[in-house]
Amino acid sequence: MSAPDVDLRVFADYDGDVREEADAVVVGSGPGGAVAARELAAKGLRVVLVEEGPPFTPADYVQDGGFAMARTLREAGLRATRGTVMPTMQAIALGGGSLVNSAICNRAPAFVLDDWSERYQLAHTTRADLDPHYDAVGAYLGIAPTPDAVQGRRNLLFRDGCEKLGISSESIPRNVRGCRGSGECFTGCRTRAKQSMDITYVPDALRLGATVLTSARVERVLADGRRVVGVRGRVVAPFTGRPGHAFEVRARCVVLAAGCMATPVLLERSGLAGPSGQSGRNLQFHPGVAVMGIFPEAVDPRFGATQGYQSHHFLAEGFKLETLWAPPAVLSVRMPGSGVELQRRLLDLPRLAVWDAITSCHRSLGEVVARGRGLDPVLRWKLDPLDLPILKEALFRLAEIFFAAGADSILPGVHGLPDEMTSLDQARVLRSHALRPGDLVLGGNHAFCTTRMHGDPARGVVDEWGRCHHLDGLYVADSGVFPRCPSVNPMWTVMALAHRTAQAIAG
């Protein structure tokens, strides 16, 4: 393959308005959209993939935490929910979130999918139904457990702590080939080991004849009565969003994969939210909490897979545990203290590991509504007090694993409790303390359910093949279709469902 053989447009090359005709137009090039586009192109459909962000090359990646976020994330990485304030992120780049996530690939547990099937009338969405789609994506991306050679000490300490406590743990399966342990997943993989969508499914879709419009923001889905007929929008400059030429893609099928925070905004803007009133509602996250641990000797946290080990031991109790790394500047934001005290703590960074929990807080719901002219939403979300015990237990378990692994102390990051705890006995207060939502430093980077699938058209937006209940030719292929949070990292499930949706479209 060489550059002239494919139809990819970048911002600098648009020299006028664009009009395209296709069998299918896919909006968004993240894990859902990229898989759908490639699979549809492989079936011989004429596909146009539209992405608001630009493609990034390794030379475009910056390792500085602040500027990396400003360049690759919507709202410069400063997006947060209202109600219970919680930061949340959405990428704006070719490849979407896969460019800046840590490549974790977990299949949704069978008990989760059984629950979805029963609760939301989704008879064909059991684990057995989805496994062929997981397999296809897994084989394509080379999803495999992280090798020990690139785990780094901060990941292996987690394994050791779990082993001592009899807590099951495992090396994290990731869409990575040849990881070298740079720990730079969140700022873009300079070793090109991460098999993000921009270097896998998107080039493959291009090779199969798809057209890819980058720096192109869809502003409206076009419909003729019940039938969608295409999309319309503007070319936008990278980073500034300054609008330029207009574009329109006419197609008999529209696949929305703009992410669960943008797809409902697009439907609302287009006047196509539908009669059920479900579009934009039911927003769920995996609210995350993290604990830092200081070890007596060097951990060398710079080296190692960004997230290399995890434990599904407590999934049924509502949380998953995992290791974590990020640009030190971003992690240090969580460190307690100020002035000389903060500087002293920063000196502990070479002996530090960070582990986190993502939680299934099913009672904590919110909504997405349009704001301004772009696709940035207002996110309203509230942590239900009845979900707090899950977070408390998760914090305690993280503390327990740290001390079992030999940590000298932990920094739990909970307001109203000591900044630093030096024993497990002291950490028991994490379980007993009367927490309020505002006492926690939460993060919510998995978002779901805003265009959820449901067998009953009055209670959902799409069916289990991603087909919109109230419009012909409209499909959704992002995490918005999840009817409930999946309890584990969602990317592989998004891709599996998109794979199935593409098959349904192609017939």
Partner: protein
């Protein structure tokens, strides 16, 4: 009589305005933020990362105000406005809420001595009010990002990025750098290099800076 009152009132307004906004050194000529905001950020950077601490650079020496200025400049307009509102709110909070007794009267934060600034910010950090803690956390996040943007600080902590030569993959023949044209791509099939072989960047136990 009324003229004299007017003059006094004007002087009073002028004096108040000077106390609130005046007396700042000029900002760099290409700055996105005003000189008031630069002075505020320098004052906060000095309080959060004071000179003479265990790390060799203070917040000001690490160039925190310039870093935040550049970050504000590349942020979308809404986030830019919110950041500037944050700076304004904290800078002037001490006019309404003087805080702990070390404060020298009702002055904006950047006009307070270092010890007073540290005390005020610590009050925000440990406040019982979530909103105050959130405001402080937002400000400290920006200042901390700036502090880590400094090479000597990264090196002192052994956390500078690895030197990595990226392999050339098929995607690199398709995508130009952000902002460039596809016609600018100088790579061809002959430039493709073997993909990453998975050799760890750091030998186990080699040390953070190894």
């Amino acid at each position: 009589m009324s003229g004299a009152i007017g003059v006094v009132a004007a002087l009073l307004v002028g004096w108040i305005a000077w106390r609130i906004w005046g007396g700042h050194p000029p900002a760099p000529w290409d700055a996105a933020l005003s000189r008031r905001e630069h002075a505020f950020l320098a004052a906060v950077a000095e309080a959060v990362f004071p000179p003479g601490g265990p790390l060799p650079r203070s917040g000001v020496e690490a160039g925190v105000p310039g870093y935040v200025d550049r970050l504000v400049a590349v942020s979308p307009p809404r986030q830019r406005r919110l950041m500037r509102l944050l700076f304004f709110a904290i800078e002037h909070s001490t006019l309404l809420f003087p805080g702990p007794g070390v404060l020298r009267g009702r002055r904006r934060l950047s006009a307070q001595p270092l010890a007073a600034r540290i005390a005020v910010l610590e009050g925000w950090r440990t406040s019982g009010l979530f909103a105050r803690r959130l405001v402080f956390a937002s400000l400290r996040a920006l200042v901390t990002l700036g502090y880590f943007g400094d090479g000597p600080v990264q090196r002192r902590l052994g956390l500078e990025p690895f030197a990595i030569d990226s392999p050339v993959c098929e995607a690199d023949l398709i995508y130009p750098r952000v902002g460039a044209s596809r016609g600018d791509i100088a790579l061809g099939l002959g430039d493709l290099t073997p993909p990453s072989d998975g050799t760890p960047l750091c030998a186990p136990g080699a040390g953070a800076a190894g």
